[in-house]
Structure formats: C-alpha cells, structure tokens
C-alpha cells in the first residue's frame, strides 16, 4: 500500500482508455482464450473430474461387455459380440453426459457472482462466455472419446479406418455442441444449480435407455422403437456403430431400420446438424435476455 500513482499512469489512462476497439475479432479471441484458459486451469488443478470422466466410460465398457458376454452369437448382428456393439453407445453416451453438465460451471458462476465480473466487463460479445464453455467441453469429450476408442480396441472391438475415425470425431463434435448449447440455455434459465442437476438427472439415463446405445432397435417393442428412432442420440450412435463394423461405409449406407423407414448415414448426419442448429437457435432468445 505504499506505492503512489504517478502522473505517467494518469496520462497513460487518458490515452489508453479512449483508444477505439480497433480489432473486434482480436478482442473477441482475447476474451475467449482468457475464459477458456480459466476452465483449463481449473481442470488442471482439480483433475479428478477428468479422471472420473475417463474411468467411468471404461468401466461401462468392461461391465456392459461382461454382462452380455454369454449372449447368443449373432444376437447383435452377424458375427459381432456385444463388446463390439456397445463401443459406439458408450462413446455417444459419455459425450452426451459431459455436454449435459456443461451448464453447471456457468450456473455456479451465476450463483457466486463471478458472472457479474464478466458482465460488467466491456466484452466484444458475451457469446465468448458460451464459446469458452463449448471449447472446454468439446476438448474434454474428444479426450474421453480417444480413451474409449483405444480401450475398446484393446477389448477386441477393432478400429474404424482413418476416415471412419474422422467421422466419429465429427459426430461427437456435433452432438456435444448441440447438447452443450441446451445445457447452457438451461443454466441461464433455471433458478439454481439444484434445479439444473434435477433436469440433468431426469434427462440423462432415460435418453440413454430410449436410444440404441445398449440394444439394437429390433430388440425393442414398437413404441420404444418409435421413441428411440426419434431420439437424436440414436442418430449419433448408429453411424458410429456402422463405421466400426464396415470399412466400406458411404453416406448412402443404411445405418438404422426405423419403424418409418430406412435411415442412411447421410440422413443421420443431417438430423444431427439439424439438432445442433435448432439447439443453438433455441437458446438465442434466452441468452440475449440474460446478456441484454
């Protein structure tokens, strides 16, 4: 407390402060990078969430694989065991779960008042807050995906070819982006983290069971087939499963026999892109109000 403010600081203040925000893009990047950096510093100092996020899907892989180990050969498609079948489901379920939780840190920032620190700052766009969360969560999801892919390869599920892996990455990104957007929308709409956790709780597992993650459509009663074939998760799971089993995939490959007809890989991707776009658009009004 001994330093006094010098006159040079004052003159600097006069000039520096009124300087026009010359480069909006550079400023947007600066604020986004700084906010993202904060999330990664948190992760680095509290690595338990990352560790749990990697261990959990690996346990799913092992446990689910073991549960159905003695299922009759060919039950899940010709010549594949359950271990090969379940990999795609675990990848999508894990990415989905992670993205669903994306809103929690933002909710805590709201509750603790840290968000106010961001809102009183002259951010170029408050979407940098959303952007930072999205970058953080997608990075985490990709790390988890890599772990699952490597682990299931060890467990004998094999590996998709290079273009297949690229497709897996693309699908995970689309899903994570869409679900993260929805979660952030909730984080700005619900009154507190208790409510957000409640929503996550009632969404997570039901959507898993009402998808093709654990069993193929053909196993389900007709009503559930309808539900599962309207569930966006299925549109992420089935293409990934297909490229795991077929190296000769193309956009025209039929990946799902829905009650209303065949779904091709290309159509599934379109559904995901659509889902993502709808999710991003649907949170716009809420964010605009929160950021007004």
């Amino acid at each position: 407390m001994s330093t006094t403010v010098t006159s040079s600081q004052l003159s600097e203040k006069a000039t520096g402060q009124l300087a026009p925000t010359s480069n909006l893009i550079a400023d947007f990047l600066q604020e986004t990078i700084a906010l993202t950096r904060r999330l990664f510093i948190q992760l680095q100092r509290r690595p338990s969430t990352l560790a749990a996020g990697i261990i959990q899907p690996l346990m799913w892989l092992i446990l689910f694989g073991a549960l159905f180990q003695n299922a009759p050969e060919g039950l899940f498609g010709s010549g594949i065991n359950y271990g090969r079948f379940i990999g795609a489901g675990i990848i999508v379920f894990t990415a989905f779960g992670g993205a669903l939780n994306a809103g929690l840190p933002v909710m805590f920032d709201r509750e603790f008042g840290f968000l106010n620190r961001l809102l009183v700052a002259p951010l170029v766009s408050r979407y940098s807050i959303v952007m930072a969360s999205a970058i953080f969560i997608t990075t985490l999801s990709l790390i988890q995906t890599v772990a699952i892919v490597v682990m299931s390869a060890f467990l004998g599920a094999g590996l998709p070819n290079a273009s297949g892996l690229a497709l897996v990455t693309f699908i995970v990104l689309l899903l994570v982006l869409g679900v993260t957007a929805l979660s952030l929308g909730l984080a700005f709409s619900l009154p507190g983290h208790i409510e957000l956790i409640a929503v996550i709780f009632v969404t997570n597992l039901p959507l898993l069971f009402a998808s093709t993650a654990l069993v193929p459509l053909a196993f389900m009663p007709t009503w559930l087939q309808w539900v599962a074939s309207l569930n966006p998760l299925s549109y992420a799971i089935e293409p990934i499963r297909y490229v795991y089993l077929h190296n000769d995939w193309s956009l025209g490959s039929v990946v799902m026999q829905a009650p209303f007809g065949e779904v091709t890989l290309g159509a599934a991707l379109l559904v995901l892109v659509g889902f993502c776009a709808v999710a991003l658009l649907s949170i716009q009004p809420r964010l605009r109000r929160a950021f007004a």
Binding site: T4, Q17, R45, N116, R117, V120
Partner: protein
Amino acid sequence: MAPAVLIENLQKRYGSVEAVKDVSLHIESGEIFGLLGPNGAGKTTTIRCLCTLAEPDAGKIEVSGISVTENPKLARQHLGYVAQEIALDKVLTGRELLELQASLYHLPRSLAKERIEIVLDQLGLQDYSDQKIGTYSGGLKKRLDLAAGLLHQPQVLVLDEPTVGLDIESRYTVWSFLRQIREAGTTVLITSHYLEEIDMLADQVAIIDQGRVIASGTPSQLKDKVGGDRITLRIREFTPNDEAERAKSLLESVPAVQEVIINSAQGNSLNLVVSAQSDALSTVQRALQDAGLPTFGIAQSRPSLDDVYLAATGRTLLDADLAAAATRDEKAERKKQMR
C-alpha cells in the same frame, strides 16, 4: 465537462417491489461520493443499474457523458465495479485472476503485465500473487477484488459496501487506498451503511431511503442543516411506554430542547435535539430530577449522519436495517442478484 456520473430520476422495480423509486445523483470527477442508506434502501440496485447489470425502468444514467443504456460497452470501459459479495475463483492464483481480468478489458499483453504489477504493489499483494485465492484471508480477497476493479484504470470506481465483514486493519487498508486513488484523479462511488465510514471518506454524500434520495451534500453541510446537538437519554434500561411519554412531554417544555423522539427499537430511549449550548445536558438532567425520573444513561454529541437520517425518516439507520432484514425474501434476493 460532463460529470463523472449522472443519474437522473432512476426507477427500477423487481416484480412488485419498487427497489428504486426516484434517485438522482450528480457526481463530479475526482471526488469520493458516498451513498448511504439502510439495507434495502436501493443502493445496490442503483449501482447495478449504473454498472449495466440491471436495466433501469426509467431515468437517465451517464458515465462521463456516455449513456450506459445506449452505449453500454463504452460505458463499461470507464467503470470499475467491485461487488459486495467477493466473487473470485478460488482455484486461480491472484495473478491469474488479474490476467483474466486484463483480457476481459482487452489490455495488450505488455500493458497488462505492467498494470498487474502496479495494482499488486498498490494493494500490498505482491507476496500472495502466486498463491491460490482459496488460501487468501477475507481481507486479502477484498484487496484482490479492488485490484481487479482498478486494473483497467477506470475513470469511475464503484464499490458496493467494500468494508462489510472486514477486520479493522483491512478496513484501514481499503480507506487509505481509496484516498490514494482519489489523489490520482479517479472518481469513487462507494455505498455503505456505516455512517462513520462515509462521514470520514466522502466528499459528497447522498442519503437514500426506500428508493429515494432524502438528503445530499457534503457531510458537514448535512450535519449543519439538521443543527443543534444531540442528547441520547435512557430513563431506564428498558423504559415503559407511559414513562417515556411522560418524559417526552416534560422535556418538550424545556426551552433548550427543540425536539424529542422516542426510539422504541432501543428500549424507548429518547433522542433529543437541543440547541448547541454547553449547559443543555445539565438542564435536561435537572428537569428529570425535579420530576422524579431516574437517569440510566445520558450522552451529548454533535449531530452525526445518523441524525441526518433520523431527522429525515424518524428512525435510525440501525432500526431501518433491522426492519429491512426482517422483510428480506431469499428468493427475491437471489433473483435480483443472479443473471
């Protein structure tokens, strides 16, 4: 030149609660402006509107001539805001938080580095800058919060109850810091419900109650305006109503006594306004004695800002605070605070 902060006829309601009914403030550049009032008076809401955290329902707010509603981004560059609740990230180090803050205000890297060193020095934080904020004491956290608010060298630094819950040493640190930045030309808007703090620090004061400004001026102007001296008198520790009323009518007939208020929240103590003459105390005591009333305690003082508040509202700040605390609704508070 435009005033540092201009607020005209501000109104803001939350649901059915009119948090701010009509507030106008005129804050000149380079002064410490104190906003004084009990809890729930509308201080924080006024500040939230100023700092673009809440949208006013009506009224005009300008910072150095820039409208905060029409040009919020530019206005934010001129404002530094230190909230009442200390919202820091306990996982980050002090320096990392300041780096984040610098990026949010788009300071170039080299300038940010330089400024961070300056504010760390200014607030005596150098020794702690690379420790995690989670290890900081309450006083250190507040100092870091102040450092963050000042990092971009705003023209107006807005502090909402900066010394609530601080130990006395940290309070002194905050006070001397505020005086220092005033010397450097920064305008400071500070809210408080500590009278002494505002009395001592502020060049200009506005007293706000139930969403309205009820008095404004320099602290000594305000005190002079209420005039006279104050006598606080207790007949007994807890005086019965009838006895208090009796003493009141008795004392009102004493020539030196201008006004008598029964303070029911303080065990029916009597607050007297007396002409500023030296023998008022003994005159009052004698009058009580002659009427056969005991004296549990009696004290004479110069008028304080509390008396300014008392004269305007008929209750003391402390009572108003307690009354406000009783009516607080947790849900409504959360709704106001959270975005």
